[in-house]
Amino acid sequence: MAKRIDVKDLDIYYGDFKAVEGVTMTVEPRSVTAFIGPSGCGKSTVLRTLNRMHEVIPGGRVDGSVMLDDQDLYASSMDPVAVRRTVGMVFQRPNPFPTMSIRDNVAAGLKLNGLKNKKKLDEVVETSLKGANLWNEVKDRLDKPGAGLSGGQQQRLCIARAIAVNPQVLLMDEPCSALDPISTLAIEDLINELKSDYTIVIVTHNMQQAARVSDQTAFFNLKATGEPGRLVEVGDTQRIFSNPTEKATEDYISGRFG
């Protein structure tokens, strides 16, 4: 089910501004890869190119290639909408649809794409909510609005919504930065479980979190202010945190940055 991502010589632009330069890396299937680095270095930008969400922003475009197994995501014949069904995404701030109930939020991806079979939908809602460790908390109030849940629950609802469309890859853009430590722990446990089915890429500002949840870590940095961001180093999380090759990585993870 899960797929490998191969990024090669990726340059990312906002209009004429080159935001990220020369990213080459591989994300193994059924693993968790963490993107770390200072604010503004392009981690989220790189993440958003993995499901073609980057081009939603006016002027957003890329050079280079992103391969999902043997498919080129940026081939001219590739439909961005189809890419996003295969590569799901969870955002920094929980964003359940305010007009929909908990059930409809989880089913949104399938329903809006035309699935009408109620039995099948109910099945997917249940398995997705169970997959997101939310089922026991909400099973008696599926018809209540999704926006009525707590922040942590809302974020797990968004994860349930993302896995309901059965993606191959799950992208998470600082999924815990708006949450308290308990909810963060719940999400991290969930990431550990989801890893057996999905390829996961997570952007985080929390280095302990990167160390806790990821198998592979990529450190991004700016060469200098105004220069494009770049991938400094990528490797086994344990190695990156104990024995980084680059001086900049060591400085950043040991807090001596800047």
Partner: protein
């Protein structure tokens, strides 16, 4: 105040040498209290000035026209066969005409207005969007009599048709479209971008995202805006005088003959000195205010009955 406090305690600036006078924490600043009072008085005065004419209009309309609305025939009869000097008759023909024209105007302007707003907010980029937005701004500023003359020139002078109720609704549509565009635009802009992104990230195409996520989220606001715009247009008089002259009988045909409306009914008898005619003028005025008020009320009610749950 805090800087004054600091000045007295910072050893590098001995007390008394600072430029600002030193004061204790608990003391009230006389100058600031006076300014506060002045601002309060000015604010309340402005409020009173704004409210007085409103209350005055409502009061005198109620006093002079209220009794007309209490008669049953006001709501059941037309003015057919009743001269200015005679009492009696009702306003059904005018109420009906106003409502018919409002509904037809809404049917024509809402789709155009809402879709234009969707274009401007969701799709509009570059020059075309700027031109459309600029045009809407210009259209917002068009005086109603100019819109009426435009439709007259088109409908009567160019095409050679008769002056009918449909021509009135064309002019009213011209006036209503920009208000619908602007209010809908504001509501769509209020929908957080995160919701659009969440929908795209599920592999939902853009048009479906707009129909199933963006518009439902803004729905109550859009409806409220439309109802308020309609209430505004219902009181327009210039297009009615130019394109839809008054008649005393009930008429429902949009394309043939004359159709009475409340504004033209008011206009008809306003120069009369006879009491029965004046009563009718005030009665029709109050009825129009009531209709607009009800529409506003409906707008607020729909606003409360929102699809956004929390």
């Amino acid at each position: 105040m805090s800087t004054a406090q600091l000045d007295t305690t910072t050893p590098t600036t001995p007390p008394g040498t600072g430029s600002s006078p030193t004061r204790g924490l608990g003391e009230r600043s006389g100058g600031r209290a006076a300014k506060d009072l002045l601002a309060k008085v000015v604010m309340w005065l402005a409020f009173a000035i704004a409210v007085v004419p409103l209350v005055w209009i409502l009061g005198s309309t109620l006093v002079k026209g209220g009794h007309m609305l209490l008669e049953a025939q006001w709501w059941t009869n037309s003015q057919a066969g009743i001269t200015s000097r005679r009492e009696g008759g009702g306003a059904v023909h005018a109420i009906q005409g106003t409502l018919i024209q409002a509904v037809v105007t809404a049917v024509m302007s809402v789709p155009v207005g809402v879709l234009t707003a969707v274009y401007l907010v969701e799709y509009g980029r570059g020059r075309l969007a700027r031109v459309v937005s600029f045009m809407v701004d210009i259209l917002t500023g068009i005086p109603s009599i100019v819109a009426a003359l435009f439709v007259y020139a088109l409908w009567v002078t160019t095409f050679g048709f008769q002056r009918v109720a449909f021509a009135v609704t064309l002019a009213l549509t011209l006036l209503m479209i920009p208000t619908v565009v602007r209010s809908t635009e504001e509501m769509l802009k209020l929908v957080p971008n995160e919701l659009r992104e969440a929908s795209y990230a599920l592999g939902v195409p853009k048009w479906k995202t707009i129909m199933k996520v963006v518009v439902p989220t803004a729905f109550s606001g859009i409806v409220t805006g439309i109802l308020l715009g309609l209430a505004r247009v219902m009181g327009e008089t210039a297009p009615l005088i130019i394109l839809g002259p008054y008649t005393k009988v009930i008429a429902t045909d949009l394309f043939g003959g004359l159709m009475a409306t409340l504004p033209t009914m008011i206009n008809q008898d306003r120069t009369e000195a006879l009491q029965p005619a004046l009563d009718r003028v005030w009665g029709a005025s109050l009825t129009l205010i009531l209709l607009v008020f009800l529409l506003n009320l409906l707008g607020r009610f729909v606003g409360r009955f929102s699809k956004v749950k929390s």
